[in-house]
Amino acid sequence: MIAALELGLIYAVMALGVYLTFRILNFPDLTVDGSFTTGAAVAAMLITNGVPPLLATGAGFVGGMLAGLVTGLLHTKGKINGLLAGILTMIALYSINLKIMGGTANLALTMQGTLFTPLADAGILDTGLSLVILFVGAFLIKLVIDWFLHTDVGLAAQATGDNEQMVRSFGVSTDTSKILLLMLSNGLVALCGALIAQYQGAADISMGVGLILVGLASVIIGNALVGTGRGIFITSLSVIVGAVLYRLIIFLALDLNFDPNDMKLISAVIVVIALLLPRLIRRRTPRALPAEPTRSAVIAGGTQ
């Protein structure tokens, strides 16, 4: 149970990344499946070669940012459809990740110290205290995201997902905004990959498969809890909660003796339910929408 919560809090970092693209930018970014593994592979490889874990984790973050940069360039400068751009990068990353891992599909970290070794040594892992530490970590990252979104650059990036025509008319390069958010998002996803590899003691070439669903599920579940239209602070906090809830649901499903091979199916079903449920509830309690004024009859005469 505590392990599930721990996992949830680590995966929250990835969910925050997905939140940036999916909610802020309105861009379902499939790069995630690849960049998660990139972060894990980079960190695992470096740690195996004696690089300090903290540095290796940072390098994982940078690896993810580069993946986001590629997707961003393909989409903006290459004018490739966003979904396709993400898929292209994700698939290319499979080969690249294998190369990073030295051609093996699995890289164990059992011999080396990781970021979690001090916690394990102190006997903190799997206790309430580890949950507090992990929550503080996720919360700090959330605060950095909140701060970023409120800067001049961040506001322009938010508006890019909202109304491109408007931000461009105020001198914002929407291409730059998109690339920036994609880099930040995939950096966080890769950071999460690096952490998971260290937590589980191995990087695996397929550890990112279907991960976008986990991210979407976390964001959608979290947002559904607080409702839309909340401020950034609450919304991004809800993403952390969503990530933990998702892990709990999976934990309970396993506990109920579901086949672990069915987990991807269960993930997909959770996303579908989380997407449909708020809409179904809303349909039963219709809200009056303010009427938009129609094109009026002022147009006197005209020359047509």
Binding site: D152, L155, R168, P290, P293, G301
Partner: protein, 263 residues
């Protein structure tokens, strides 16, 4: 302030759908000029404004703003010189951001954006003062989401956001057309006062001929991608809507005849 020379734009060139939207338009606005543009549907008014703002590249010709040739700049670079209000009230603002966040984005028009806090208390005070000039009470709703505002409120806010940083050129494309008559009148009044206050060089497209005559110091009539009539301030004062209509019929007939003769 704005010089357009032989601007040409043809949509779908070389196909059966070929549509010349701008036929060698030449136009000059002096600093502080407020020109209204009228013309039939499809005359090329929006195309002209889009060409100036850079959202539509020209086929030929050149555009100068304040002595700088902007032909090769894309729209977000030209935004440094240009404020725009669109016909659709939801086009000029970001609905899921608050009023103060929208204004913070507008405040940095044409400047570098950094990692400084977007809505500082100093900026808030400024936003409040600016919003108060609209007399819509929006200065007390700084943290309201813009998506919750009515069309008229949004259009007034768009106008403020486009102008309070004093652009070299203000482009208005039927920005009152989607509002009810009362709101349209309000936004028109706000437009006049803000243009007057900052002495903005302005191009305003409208379908309301009476308004086109009443507002601004110049009038431009377009038809079929050409400027077919220009009135200066004095001529505007003595011209009536029936005059304009008569003039339009006369010139339209003539230009059409010319073209049939030439082709």
């Amino acid at each position: 302030m704005l010089t357009i020379t032989d601007a040409r734009k043809t949509f779908f060139p070389g196909t059966v759908n070929e549509k010349p939207a701008l036929r060698d338009i030449t136009l000059h606005l002096a600093p502080g000029d407020f020109a209204t543009i009228i013309g039939s549907n499809g005359a090329g008014k929006s195309t002209l404004l889009n060409a100036i703002s850079g959202t539509l590249p020209l086929d030929a010709g050149s555009i100068q703003i304040d002595g700088i040739v902007v032909n090769r700049m894309n729209d977000h670079r030209r935004a440094r010189f240009i404020g725009r209000v669109f016909q659709d009230p939801s086009a000029g603002t970001a609905p899921s951001l608050t009023i103060q966040e929208n204004m913070a984005i507008a405040l940095r028009r044409g400047q570098r954006r950094g990692l400084g806090w977007g809505v500082t208390s100093a900026r808030k005070a400024r936003f409040r003062d600016e919003l108060a000039t609209l007399e819509l009470g929006l200065e007390n709703r700084l943290t309201a989401k813009v998506g919750l505002l009515s069309g008229g409120q949004r259009q007034a806010l768009s106008l403020l956001m486009a102008t309070f940083t004093q652009p070299n050129i203000l482009l208005l494309d039927e920005h009152t057309a989607a509002l009810d008559p009362q709101r349209a009148e309000l936004v028109t009044r706000l437009t006049q006062s803000v243009v007057h206050q900052h002495g903005l060089t302005t191009l305003m497209v409208t379908h309301n001929m009476e308004q086109a005559l009443r507002v601004g110091n110049r009038l431009i009539m377009m038809h079929d991608g050409q400027v077919i009539l220009e009135l200066d301030a004095d001529q505007k004062k003595t011209t009536t809507v029936p005059d304009l209509l008569r003039e339009f019929e006369k010139i339209k007939g003539a230009t059409l005849d010319d073209r049939t003769l030439l082709s």
